[in-house]
């Protein structure tokens, strides 16, 4: 087994290490995705200008 192969499988515990890294990445991407969804949701009501007279409270 070359060093690269040992490294790739992390000495047999590959699932744990790469799983941890992958799961972290997924969590961070999910955070950005949720923020993107929230930004999208912001834009929708502002398209309707007739009732948005600044009287509503957030």
């Amino acid at each position: 087994m070359t060093t690269f192969e040992v490294w790739l499988t992390m000495g047999g515990k590959g699932w744990y290490v790469w799983g941890a890294l992958g799961m972290t990445l997924l969590a961070l991407l999910a955070e950005w995705w949720v923020l993107r969804l929230q930004r999208r949701a912001l834009l929708r009501p502002s398209q309707d200008d007739t009732w948005d007279m600044g009287l509503e409270s957030s």
Binding site: G11, Y16, V17, A20, L28, W32, P45, S46, Q47, G54
Partner: protein, 250 residues
């Protein structure tokens, strides 16, 4: 006499929004670069650990997440205090922006801790000081977010949640040390990831990853702050302009 610093310059929502908008891409880029560098160093260059083999490399994600989770809580409590003392809405909004990222960091720390524990000590959960305090910290974050979400009046929600954050922050060291003490009391059953000294190259990679975590956190928190600002200040002039500009770009 020199120029006087106006500490409250960025307390105006519109200025804060613009600052956040400008800083965000740089912070994100820095986070990516630092993470790439740190992971290259930590995953590839750093030597194999004598006891744990390759699995210890999870520490390069676990430890930064754990540290950030605690730092973010302190920052949240700090902004909460500023908001209560100087009655600035923006400080409360900043605390509100910090909470979800902090909760996420805590969750990542717990998850990666479990994935570290299973191959190393044979159990998915280890009742050691760090993981147990992380679990309690997660509850504190969730409590803050739940309290803020369930009070209808935004100003009361801000101040109530901020009060809770401060009471929680004072308790965090007490809770942490009592959990450490609890661990010593009931030893024997748990062999946990206690503070092991790290070799030099591993430590350097870890510090780089911590810096990456800082930059990422700031970027995410500023992005969330922008969303909160637009949502709450929707009826003001500057916000309508920003929203209309975004609309034409979308």
């Amino acid at each position: 006499m020199g120029t006087r610093v106006n500490w409250f310059y960025f307390a105006a929502p519109s200025r804060c929004y613009r600052l956040a908008q400008r800083l965000q891409p740089w912070l994100l880029a820095a986070a990516l670069v630092l993470a790439a560098w740190g992971l290259y160093w930590g995953l590839w260059l750093a030597p194999t650990d004598a006891q744990q083999g390759e699995v210890y490399r999870i520490v390069f994600v676990h430890v930064p997440a754990a540290w950030m989770s605690m730092v973010i809580y302190l920052a949240m409590a700090g902004w909460a205090a500023v908001g209560l003392v100087w009655r600035s809405r923006l400080s409360h909004m900043m605390a509100q922006a910090l909470a979800p990222t902090g909760a996420l960091m805590t969750f990542v720390a717990l998850w990666t801790g479990a994935l570290w524990g299973q191959p190393t000590w044979g159990t998915w959960w280890v009742w050691d000081a760090r993981l147990t305090s992380e679990l309690l910290l997660l509850f504190l974050y969730l409590g803050y977010m739940a309290l803020h979400a369930s009070i209808e009046d935004v100003d009361r929600a801000d101040r109530a949640a901020s009060l809770l954050a401060i009471v929680g922050a004072i308790n965090v060291p007490v809770i942490y040390f009592s959990v450490v003490w609890w661990n010593t009391l009931h030893q024997g059953a748990s062999i946990g990831p206690s503070g092991s000294s790290m070799a030099e190259p591993m430590l350097r990679a870890l510090l780089v990853m911590v810096a990456a975590a800082w930059c990422y956190t700031l970027a995410a928190v500023l992005a969330r702050l922008r969303v909160i600002l637009l949502k709450r200040e929707r009826h003001t002039a500057w916000a309508t302009r920003v929203l209309q500009a975004q609309e034409t770009n979308a």
